[in-house]
């Protein structure tokens, strides 16, 4: 066997001798690798944004909303007939072991005013548990105290966007804002979270104590009413297993007879997210495989050109054999050639693919994310394509009879 360096220089010489042809041959691989990288980065980006959303929303979530109101046969949407109470959540948290936290939510979109500035945003009445579930801390100021909740204090915690819109450069702490004309003192500002996966500004929020919302800001039809209850289970498995327990407890608390429908809806967000995640995973695999087909076609292009090259260089092969080249010397020569062609194509494809996924990320709404694995995978695949499709031409070259090969014109 002749040494690798010599074989490499023989191969690169042949590639350089036919520059245009080599470029065109590699083009198939270039496009294939670039396409795989772009597709995988789009799929991976979608997956990552879902995962991020799960993280900011809080993990292992279950949401309970009021059920469906039926009036003379016309069914309104979820929550059209309010039935849920804050105490329902407290009972669930207390009695069902799988549930760690139960945060009440009573929300309304309304205008808030500070001085001359005003801004329309979602005002949410809740308590501390909400921030624990979302793992969301204050960047400065203080959290709602038990006294705030008990006394229905007129205090508010703001998201960064609201701070920017109302206060600009002014320090909001201790200032008074008006929500529906009622003065609230700003006690804290949340750490900015940016956009959520579906493009919503998560910092465009105002939080007030649940009791204040119930008693002073939002109209409720019975005492202790909430719009929904956000539950956090101890782990992802429990979000499935706890559902039945919650249902029984709520039916009992709402005094629902055997023949009565549930007046609430339990929604397992973890389950939804997991489904979305697995469907994007399938999408990633699908996109990647479609792109791999072009890589395969590129490989066939290499095989085609290598076959032509072997025929063209029959005489060269004859000379090498007459002078002492063994079958494997010839095979390695042509294998190295196709390997170098495909790896160069792979390398250029990686560069174009990275550039492409960057551009897709910038100019389209699809989030893209490049990972090392998704770059190395198509690159090494291009190498394997080169070896696989280079083998047959190389093998064919090595089978030539030196006498006939030398006579070839």
């Amino acid at each position: 066997m002749i040494d690798a360096r010599t074989i490499f220089s023989i191969a690169t010489r042949a590639i350089k001798a036919n520059k245009m042809r080599s470029i065109l041959t590699s083009l198939g691989i270039i496009i294939g690798v670039a396409a795989v990288i772009v597709m995988l980065s789009v799929g991976h980006g979608a997956q990552t944004s879902i995962q991020n959303e799960m993280k900011t929303m809080g993990s292992n979530l279950i949401i309970i909303r009021s059920g469906v109101a039926t009036s003379s046969g016309a069914r309104s949407g979820h929550g059209s007939k309010p039935t849920m109470k804050k105490s329902d959540g407290d009972a669930i948290q207390e009695k069902i072991e799988a549930i760690k936290l139960a945060a009440p939510v009573l929300e309304e979109t309304t205008q808030i005013v500070y001085g001359n500035a005003n801004w329309s945003t979602g005002v949410t009445g809740t308590d501390r548990r909400m921030f624990e579930i979302k793992e969301w801390n204050l960047s400065y100021g203080r959290m709602f105290s038990s006294t705030d909740i008990r006394s229905a204090a007129k205090v508010a915690i703001l998201g960064q966007t609201v701070v920017n819109e109302l206060f600009g450069d002014v320090d909001p702490l201790g200032k008074t804002i008006r929500i529906k004309g009622i003065p609230f003192q700003v006690i804290g500002v949340l750490i900015p979270r940016g956009q959520s996966g579906n493009g919503m500004d998560q910092d465009d929020v105002v939080y007030i104590p649940i009791t204040t919302a119930q008693k002073k800001v939002m109209g409720i039809s019975f005492p202790d009413q909430v719009k929904m209850i956000m539950l956090q289970a101890i782990d992802s498995q429990s979000t499935y297993t706890a559902q039945e327990e919650i249902r029984e407890l709520l039916r009992q608390r709402h005094n629902l007879g055997v023949n009565k429908e549930d007046d609430f809806v339990i929604r397992n967000l973890t389950q939804m997210m997991e489904m979305m995640e697995s469907s994007t995973k399938v999408m990633t695999i699908l996109l990647g495989s479609i792109a791999s087909i072009s890589l395969l076609v590129g490989g066939i292009g290499i095989m085609n050109i290598m076959l032509v090259s072997v025929t063209e260089r029959t005489r060269e092969i004859g000379i090498r054999m007459a002078i002492g080249a063994k079958a494997w010397d010839i095979r390695w020569q042509f294998l190295t050639e196709s390997l170098v062609l495909s790896l160069i194509g792979g390398l250029v494809g990686v560069v174009i693919g990275l550039l492409g996924s960057y551009l897709v990320g910038v100019f389209s709404s699809l989030p893209t994310k490049v990972s090392l694995l998704y770059v190395l995978l198509p690159f090494s695949f291009s190498g394997m394509v080169g070896l696989f499709f280079g083998f047959y031409p190389a093998y064919k070259a090595s089978l030539l009879n030196p006498i006939n090969a030398l006579r070839y014109e």
Binding site: M1, I2, D3, R5, T6, R13, A17, R315, E316, G318, I319, R320, M321, A322, I323, G324, A325, K326, A327, W328, D329, P402, I403, L406
Partner: protein
């Protein structure tokens, strides 16, 4: 023991229902240091004999001992190895690799003999100097005249210290003046370096450079005599 011993060598090709006999039992001994010309009309089988002698082809029957080793039943790779170590070829059409410098062409046999790169270059330069191409080592074949190309081929044939040189119509593509130069080079290789040379030609004046002339007619040795210069 002779360098080359052929016993009852035959070669036939299947042709429809019968066998076409190209060589019909060749017995031939060639000693070390000899300079043999093989002559014969086209179709006489001299090229076939040359291919068998050069280990490019296998005989249908008979035995071939080359430098003390039976070679008639060796595998393709083993024959490649014999060609590499024992035989240097010079062809009518030069058969140099195009787009490859004279120096690299001469290095080629050593590439397949696994000689380290530095040593390859040194020995190739020496061989090219010996054939008078010191100044043209980095020229490509298409930048060299026919005679110069043939000298590169001769340098390539001797660089691996192969004891035998096979020359198949080496002057066939050259004019008279260049032919004389090339034949003088062969004579020098034979006399000064003791290389055994086997020359195939159909020209009498070229054959007369040899010490011994073998004539093949119809697949058999017709005559085998010393050449009186």
């Amino acid at each position: 023991m002779s360098l080359i011993e052929l016993k009852h060598i035959t070669k036939s090709y299947p042709l429809e229902d019968t066998q076409l006999k190209i060589l019909k039992g060749i017995n031939l001994n060639i000693e070390k240091g000899d300079f043999v010309a093989i002559m014969g009309p086209s179709g006489s089988g001299k090229s076939t004999l040359m291919n068998i002698l050069g280990c490019l082809d296998k005989p249908t029957s008979g035995t071939y001992v080359l430098d003390g080793q039976r070679v008639e039943n060796l595998s393709a790779d083993e024959l490649a190895d014999i060609r590499n170590r024992k035989i240097g070829f010079v062809f009518q059409g030069f058969n140099l690799l195009s787009r490859t410098s004279a120096l690299e062409n001469v290095e080629l046999p050593m590439v397949y003999a696994n000689v380290p790169a530095a040593q390859r270059e040194e020995r190739a330069k020496k061989a090219l100097t010996k054939v008078g191409l010191r100044e043209r080592m980095y020229h490509m074949p298409n930048q060299l005249s026919g005679g110069q190309q043939q000298r590169v081929a001769i340098a390539r044939a001797v660089v691996n210290e192969a004891p035998i040189i096979f020359a198949d119509e080496p002057t066939g593509n050259l004019d008279t003046k260049m032919s004389v130069e090339i034949m003088n080079l062969f004579t020098k290789l034979n006399e000064d370096l003791g290389r055994t040379i086997i020359l195939v030609t159909h020209e009498d004046d070229i054959a007369h450079y040899a010490k011994r002339i073998i004539r093949i007619v119809d697949g058999e040795i017709h005559s085998d005599e010393k050449n009186e210069k």
